[in-house]
Symmetry: C2
Subunit: 110 residues, 2 copies
DNA sequence: CAGGATCCCCGGGGATACTG
DNA sequence: CAGTATCCCCGGGGATCCTG
């Protein structure tokens, strides 16, 4: 039985989605932003272990993928806020479900 | 407002889940196995672009993480079947939802 | 048929120091 | 405060060839 042509497209869809949310800190950042708009420093402090460099990179990628909105307030000292876009919002149930599954998975291990 | 301690645990849960399903071919393989038990060669043919080496590696990791069951039939020529475990089954809705979101995401781009 | 062995490359990710 | 600039490392992933 040959695979249907649709499988190829669906596989690509799943792979594409993984590329967008597959970064090491992407979903963790998203989880925090889904609780509300946050500043760079807040995220930095909320994510123990992340470096400013990585935080910047992941945020920029999330922004490029239109999941996160970056708002710069032209003032001194600088103030930058990050929030989730509508597309980012659409990931809420997925993130929640991934977390649920994570718990289930941990409980399932012997 | 300090982050709640729970956030740390939940972040870890999400990250742990991503480690299990984050391999490049993991979910794609899972998608095919969720349609039914398949042999090595079937998967190899069903996944254009994958090499035998990568297929083996990802399958072994899925097996180690208890998402996939590997059944060897001691005969010549060799026959090996792969199927999803109960834990693997528990990912079905997640994979489906990821695919749904992938479609939504593509439609959302401009 | 179902892999194993080898070799290789790129880039995601990290550590540290510096700046408008 | 919110990042840049460098440097570096590891390993995920790929290509190719071989085998019980």
């Amino acid at each position: 039985m040959r695979p249907r042509l649709d499988d190829l497209a669906d596989d690509c869809t799943v792979e594409a989605a993984m590329e967008v949310i597959g970064g090491k800190w992407k979903l963790v950042i998203l989880r925090h932003l889904l609780d509300g708009t946050k500043r760079f420093g807040e995220l930095d402090r909320a994510l123990p272990g992340i470096t400013p460099r990585m935080l910047t990179r992941q945020l920029r990628e999330l922004e490029a993928d239109r999941l996160v909105l970056r708002t710069v307030y032209p003032q001194v000292p600088p103030k930058v806020e990050y929030s989730v876009t509508e597309i980012g919002q659409s990931l809420r149930t997925l993130v929640d479900q991934l977390e649920q599954w994570g718990h289930f998975y941990r409980r399932s291990l012997t």
